[in-house]
């Protein structure tokens, strides 16, 4: 392999020499910020061939890699599942500190991207013309891959939020699908009273859900300007969230089953967890993890914080990025573009992924897809609508991975003790401020 890539480097050198622009092959340099890599450079790199190592846990990429290799027979895509989210981030950080074994492409979730972008551990893709793709992605994901004026990844999928609900349960107790969070709380009361074993949803504290709900409520807890950071969970939006959610917790209306466990899957199947506000990538998980409840569930737009409003937010989703220390950047970018903006998107949609590209989101064939799992419902219409209504001014911390990891240490207390949600958020804020200060950020409290 090393021999192979060295040969490839020599090959690229030749391409560079032949290219008219002297800066054409700057992509593999560390300080390539201003240099441009034209599509002709990428084309010739593809003809030359080489190996691209991709670290990703996204299952639909397997087919995409195979298709890509078929289209460009000289390119070898080495797809490696180096662990899921945090495991992979640690592996990536380890490889970067060792300056060895760094992948050419890495899957990085939106909330985690900021840290790598800030520390310049991933490549600004502007040099490869990524900016041109701005209009082809829905606003939430595109905003998430941007940091400063750089573009640090291409959105792979997105998670515009929707309310998944168990229609069978709702029908049984004649509960109307809530359109506001107040109605949601009412529905929770009615349901739990009718069947003490049933809950409107399960929640034991989840950083992703809380930040997404804050996002939807128009809260701006994080302010990020380079290395200047502000954290505040007390604005009007946050208050809407805490007021509502505190009722659910106080009246024990949310099931204390931890998400993504066996019990949780079972609860989704047997009607004891009646709704799930989450991202549009969820149908694939329903189909594989909750097979028994096929036909019971439906999708509805997110309940609103204000009656008649039409706000949504993103939950989850990830990008593909090019680590700065990776090799074969032209090829790597070519693959990322193919997978996240080119033909790969269709392949991935077919295998159950939810795209971030507006063209696909708006295409009639996508929107008219009937989900047998949801009783034939054309759920993508709701998801696509949600994707359009995501406020674009949301920011994650540049160290959100750490912040999320201590969410349950702090906010989790609100679920298991008399601590209030606002107090929990305050201690999350304090811990995040402390960490930020230790890490050299300028943090305003």
């Amino acid at each position: 392999m090393p021999k192979h890539s060295r040969r490839l480097l020599r090959g690229l050198g030749l391409v560079c020499a032949l290219a008219l622009g002297a800066t054409a092959c700057g992509g593999s340099d560390d300080d390539s910020g201003d240099k441009k890599v034209g599509s002709s450079d990428i084309q010739s790199a593809l003809k030359k061939g080489g190996t691209v190592t991709v670290w990703a846990w996204e299952p639909t990429l397997k087919q995409v890699a195979a298709d890509f290799e078929k289209k460009y027979p000289k390119v070898d895509i080495k797809l490696v599942n180096a662990g899921t989210n945090n495991d992979q981030y640690k592996a990536l950080s380890n490889a970067i500190s060792a300056k060895k074994g760094v992948p050419d492409v890495a899957q990085i979730e939106y909330y985690a991207l900021g840290q790598y972008a800030l520390t310049k551990q991933i490549t600004d893709l502007k040099a490869y013309g990524a900016e041109k793709l701005a209009s082809s992605y829905s606003p939430g994901p595109w905003n998430s891959v941007k940091s400063g004026d750089g573009v640090y990844g291409l959105p792979m999928d997105s998670g515009p939020m929707a309310l998944f609900y168990n229609k069978k349960v709702f029908d049984k107790y004649k509960i109307a699908v809530p359109t506001t969070w107040d109605e949601y709380v009412e529905a929770a009361r009615t349901l739990h009273k009718a069947d003490p074993k049933a809950y409107i949803t399960s929640d034991v504290g989840d950083a992703g859900l809380t930040t997404s709900l804050l996002w939807q409520a128009g809260s701006h807890p994080y302010k990020v300007d380079g290395t200047k950071v502000g954290i505040d969970f007390t604005d009007a939006g946050a208050k809407k969230y805490t007021d509502t959610w505190q009722q659910l917790i106080d009246e024990k209306l949310v099931s204390p089953v931890t998400g993504w466990t066996d019990d949780w899957y079972k609860g989704l199947g047997d009607g004891t967890i009646a709704t799930l506000p989450t991202g549009a990538w969820m149908p694939a998980n329903f189909a594989s993890g909750v097979k028994g409840a096929s036909g019971d569930w439906r999708v509805a737009p997110m309940p609103q914080w204000e009656k008649g409003a039409n706000a949504s937010s993103e939950n989850g989703g990830s990008s593909l990025a090019l680590p700065e220390l990776g090799k074969n950047k032209e090829l790597a970018y070519a693959f990322v573009e193919y997978a996240n903006s080119g033909a790969g998107v269709q392949t991935r949609i077919k295998n159950g992924a939810f795209p971030a590209t507006t063209k696909d989101l708006n295409s009639p064939s996508f929107q008219n897809t009937e989900f047998p799992y949801f009783g034939g419902q054309k759920a993508n219409k709701i998801f696509a609508e949600s994707a359009k209504s995501v406020p674009t001014d949301w920011k994650y911390l540049p160290y959100q991975v750490y912040a999320n990891s201590i969410f349950n240490d702090t906010v989790g207390k609100a679920y298991v003790s008399s601590t209030k949600l606002t107090a929990g958020l305050k201690s999350w804020q304090d811990a995040s401020v402390k960490y930020g200060t230790e890490q050299g950020f300028t943090v305003e409290k």
């Binding site: 670290w55 846990w57 996204e58 299952p59 639909t60 490696v80 599942n81 180096a82 662990g83 899921t84 989210n85 495991d87 592996a91 380890n94 490889a95 500190s97 060792a98 060895k100 074994g101 999928d157 998670g159 993504w260 066996d262 899957y265 079972k266 199947g269 047997d270 991202g279 990538w281 969820m282 694939a284 998980n285 594989s288 993890g289 097979k291 028994g292 989850g316 989703g317 159950g352 992924a353």
Partner: protein, 310 residues
């Protein structure tokens, strides 16, 4: 408890162990009367030990839906064990088989090598006086007390610089050290090898190496099997270090592979396969239990003779 970086065992060896290798008290006169009450009382501990294993065995016979709908300690109406085993070995192009072979490789080379090093080292500590001898064991014990999780990243960085990460060596080399094995062999060798025998061999002009292989090694056999089994368990169950060292699922051991299957259920778009995780878990522990049962005569005598009396 953390036994991830090999058996973390620490103790002081006996000062002057009486060299007695007694056979068990088989010929004890006046065999005591058996007690139903005592059997029942001890039976409680037995049930406690077996219950989770029974649960695992029963769970492995269930389909994914069967798991969700049936009582944990009884069978579902569908008996899917054979089907589950088949699927476990074919899922993701049969990667489970690959993990099994990897684990075997790690056990054979890692546990085998660890046992060999421990036997050599224990023999040296028991039968030779050499400079720095006391320091060796003190340092071994001291290092063992430091939590392995914290050493993982420095080890990774070092191994990475040596180009060992993402290769089987990254798992095998750390498995080669078993401090507990070293201790066990030390005590065992002290008792098991009569000094006169070694002197006799030397007088016959045998080299040190020859003396070791022809005189000492056969006598050390029961202790060796015991150490081998303990290092096998440690290697077979090794989880944390491979997690750091290996990125390529083709080199995963079973524990890591099962963990990755389990985590599939926790990601967007991932396929939840609890029935395969459970069946895979069962298949993971069966070979180890079989090895224990088959080799029990040897390792038990090794443990009695050498391990832990004053």
């Amino acid at each position: 408890m953390t036994t991830t970086t090999g058996s973390v065992r620490n103790t002081a060896p006996p000062k002057s162990p009486a060299p007695r290798l007694r056979s068990p008290r088989a010929a004890r006169p006046g065999r005591p009367r058996r007690s139903v009450l005592l059997t029942v009382l001890t039976g409680v501990v037995l049930v406690y030990s077996l219950l989770p294993l029974v649960w695992l065995l029963i769970s492995a016979t269930k389909s994914q839906q069967g798991l969700a709908r049936s009582f944990g300690l009884w069978f579902d109406r569908d008996f899917d064990l054979w089907h589950n085993i088949g699927t476990t070995f074919t899922y993701q192009d049969g990667v489970f088989g690959r993990w099994l072979l990897n684990t075997l490789l790690y056990v054979v080379v890692g546990a085998g090598g660890a046992t060999f090093l421990a036997v050599l080292g224990g023999y040296a500590l028991a039968k030779f006086a050499f400079p720095g001898k006391r320091a060796v064991f003190a340092v071994v014990i001291g290092a063992v007390a430091v939590p392995g999780t914290a050493l993982a990243v420095p080890t990774f960085l070092m191994f990475s610089k040596m180009g060992l990460t993402d290769t089987p060596w990254a798992v095998i080399i750390p498995s080669l050290i078993s401090p507990f094995g070293l201790y066990l062999m030390w005590v065992f060798a002290t008792e098991a090898i009569p000094t006169e025998l070694m002197e006799a061999a030397r007088i016959d002009g045998a080299s040190e190496l020859r003396t070791f292989f022809q005189v000492a090694l056969p006598l050390l056999a029961p202790g060796t099997v015991t150490v081998l089994l303990f290092t096998m368990v440690a290697t077979w169950n090794n989880y944390f270090l491979p997690l750091i060292m290996l990125k390529d699922p083709d080199w995963y051991p079973l524990t890591l592979g099962l963990d990755s299957w389990n985590k599939q259920a926790q990601t967007a778009g991932g396929e939840a396969i609890p029935h395969l995780v459970l069946t895979g878990s069962l298949l993971t522990i069966v070979p180890l239990i079989a090895a224990f049962l088959l080799l029990q005569k040897y390792w038990q005598s090794g443990l009695s003779a050498g391990s832990v009396k004053e």
